[in-house]
Amino acid sequence: MYVFIKGEKMYKVSPDGNELILKKDGTMAVFNKESGCKFPEGSAFISLGAAALFEKILMVEKNSPVLLIEPDIEMQKAAAGFGLENITYADNSGGAAIKEFLKKAGLKKCANIRIIRNRDAYISAGSFYKEALAAVNSALTEEKKSGEIRSIEELREASKRASGLEKEVFELMLLVYSVE
């Protein structure tokens, strides 16, 4: 599962105007502005402001959950005109909406989540973005606590259910623990 937080200043992060996205395996992907963005299946999006949608930077797959935080009601209506499904609207960047959204999107494991972070965008987006980010971090921290592994038995069980990077991490931890 991925969470992409989009802000209107966020996509111009690479020198050639394309945007960089940190994927869950830690590698960076470049998404071309002209051809649109193709996000991995199962992605979830938090868009700070509707501008990103207008500019077609976000080519959200149908049924990918999107949380659009946009205080301007007119902009909200315009975004709805794109015909995208599965959009939740919120008029502020408060934590409650974000937590609820993450929960609905089925984001239960913190290890699966990566957030696009860009220092410049972070600064320019000001308090609006900061609040949203803090809310996501807070939600993730809560998830972390609830999903925390406390014993080797829990680790074994968690590994059986895991996949991808998480599975690799757990399997390696199990081997380290067994002290071959």
């Binding site: 395996d25 830690g26 590698t27 290890a111 972390k144 925390e148 592994i149 406390r150 014993s151 080797i152 829990e154 680790l155 990077l165 599975k167 690799e168 991490v169 757990f170 399997e171 390696l172 931890m173 081997l175 380290v176 623990y177 002290v179 071959e180």
Partner: protein, 563 residues
């Protein structure tokens, strides 16, 4: 440009023994970017190494401590996650895994590489071994009595295979290590502070990381006395855990003994610097043995029980190994050994005598050391051991012949030409025939050869049984026939496993190869066929040599030999 990852995460000695390979790869592929992966406990071995572009540190000890001692699985998870994310940022053209632990193999499976060699484990447990020499490394330790290769040569051959190079194409380099100047100064300060005779000092390591490689402490004080009497001071080496044992040896040597305890005093680089100051270093099969060899300090390594000179002898020319003549050596179960013949038979007078010969550069001549053989190491196209003293001549000839036969067999098997074995046998006769014919103890040579031949006759019969059982399984028309074939296959399997327990090399080959293809009768049949061909090759070789001796006797004295 080649971007190569070598994986060898654990044990100082093993990592050190890969270093010659890295150096040779850099020489053969000057544009290659070489990365090396090891764990956080051993990573310091790679410091200062100019041949490695990047060191990847697997946070094993940190994660282990977090999980086991702090109960913090979350922290361990983050460490592992960061490690994997960083590892995956690299895209390698080749990944060469030289370690067979599950964790190293899983890392080899996780990382990104166009071509991977060695043992690879997938995240869902799928498992394979890429490369003949990697397979060999995986099973040789089960039957090391017949292993003719040094581990460094095995690393070389596995690397050559992983790099797509011809076997033997990388130049063989001796062990090497690096220590910056301040470390030499630290070593010299220790020597000066203890008023040690810098020009005449012998190093001894009485301990080892494994109990069965450890010497009996009560014998070592005798060496201290002997070397002191010859005008040499003695410095004891080892880790902090060996400090007490070394102290006990020094105490047993008496108040006036000129012996000094450096156990636990130095880090690995300072230790290396200190070893370079020794005139001779006497040790078991330890990391310090390899470090001393890297420093070109003359080594007299006393190999006990599980250690085997061909396998882990110091990969540098001019080093000496004392090896027990006990028939049970090398053994596979040292921890449960009661009589410890390999240790008890070591006579410290003989070790001292051999040590002084090495210091003075004297020839060993025909000296017969009762309980030990003394070997001299060499490197040309591969590691070489030359018998200096101890072993009877006839025994030595048979050993040399068999080492060559075994290497001929494995090389033939891996090149897909086991039948080339007969050519090798003729070469062996060319090489040793004259010596063999001239030997007055031909009868014992023949007896030893016959004993070997009977071992291979058993293997021949076992493999025939295996081939037939696998064929029956392939043809089985119904459940009953299938079960019958499976029973025969299981019986053959048991026989091979028993052969493995006896230390018969082909038994271990079978277990590993068939273990990897348990559900394929075709593959099992192929493995049994290889064993049969190899066994026949050995029988042929022995018969050939015996026939040659027989012909020679008929020619010379008309004596008949019943073969």
């Amino acid at each position: 440009m080649e971007k190569i990852l070598f994986i060898q995460p654990y044990r100082y000695g093993d990592i050190l023994q890969v270093m010659p390979v890295i150096r040779s790869v850099r020489e053969a592929l000057p544009g290659a970017e070489i990365h090396f992966l090891c764990d956080d406990y051993f990573a310091e071995v790679l410091d200062e190494n100019p041949y490695i572009a990047k060191k990847l540190v697997f946070p094993k000890m940190k994660a282990l401590a977090d999980m086991k001692y702090r109960g913090n699985f979350t922290a361990a998870g983050r460490e592992m996650e960061d490690f994997i994310i960083n590892l995956k940022k690299e895209e390698y053209s080749r990944v060469i895994n030289l370690n067979f632990s599950k964790s190293a193999s899983l890392i080899a499976g996780i990382c990104r590489g166009a071509a991977k060699s060695g043992r690879i484990i997938g995240v869902n447990g799928e498992h394979k071994v890429n490369g003949n020499w990697s397979s060999y490394m995986l099973f040789f330790t089960a039957a090391r009595k017949h292993n003719p290769y040094n581990i460094v040569d095995m690393f070389y051959m596995a690397a050559e295979e992983g790099l797509g190079l011809e076997t033997g194409s990388l130049r063989r380099e001796k062990l090497f290590f690096f220590a910056p100047r301040p470390d030499y100064e630290t070593a010299d300060k220790f020597i000066a502070a203890n008023n040690i005779n810098a020009g005449k000092v012998v190093g001894i390591q009485a301990g080892a990381s494994k109990r069965h490689r450890m010497a009996l402490n009560e014998k070592y004080h005798l060496l201290v006395g002997d070397f002191n009497n010859a005008g040499y001071d003695v410095v004891f080496f080892g880790g902090g855990g060996e400090k007490e044992a070394a102290g006990a040896v020094i105490e047993a040597a008496g108040n006036s003994a000129r012996a000094f305890n450096s156990c636990g005093v130095f880090n690995i680089r300072q230790n290396y610097a200190m070893l370079s100051r020794m005139k001779l270093f006497i040790t078991a099969d330890t990391l310090n043995m390899h470090l001393a060899a890297a420093a070109a300090t003359p080594v007299l390594a006393i190999f006990y029980a599980e250690a085997y000179p061909y396998e882990t002898g110091p990969y540098a020319p001019g080093m000496h190994i004392a090896y027990p003549r006990a028939r049970c050596a090398p053994c596979h179960d040292a921890d449960n050994c009661r009589d410890r013949k390999c240790v008890n038979d070591i006579n410290m007078d003989e070790i001292f005598d051999a040590g002084m010969k090495i210091i003075n550069g004297e020839d060993f001549g025909m000296k017969n050391y009762g309980g030990i053989n003394i070997y001299l190491t060499g490197i040309d196209s591969a590691y070489r051991l030359e018998l200096q003293a101890g072993m009877e001549d006839a025994e030595a000839i048979v050993e040399n012949i068999y080492k060559e036969l075994y290497s001929g067999y494995w090389e033939g098997l891996f090149s897909g030409n086991v039948d080339a074995f007969s050519t090798r046998v003729e070469q062996i006769w060319e090489k040793y025939g004259e010596e063999l014919e001239a030997n007055p103890d031909k009868d014992s040579i023949i007896a030893m050869l016959k004993q070997k031949a009977s071992e291979y006759s058993r293997l021949d019969a076992m493999s025939t049984e295996g081939i037939e059982a696998a064929e029956l399984l392939q043809k089985a028309a119904d459940k009953t026939a299938e079960e019958k074939a499976l029973n025969r296959l299981r019986a053959a399997d048991e026989s091979m496993k028993k052969a493995l327990k006896k230390g018969e090399m082909l038994g271990s080959y079978y277990v590993v190869e068939c273990g990897a293809a348990a559900n394929s009768p075709e593959k099992i049949k192929k493995v049994y066929r290889n064993i049969k061909r190899a066994a026949n090759g050995f029988i042929f070789a022995v018969a050939f040599l015996m026939q040659k001796i027989h012909e020679h006797r008929l020619e010379n004295d008309g004596e008949m030999i019943i073969v």
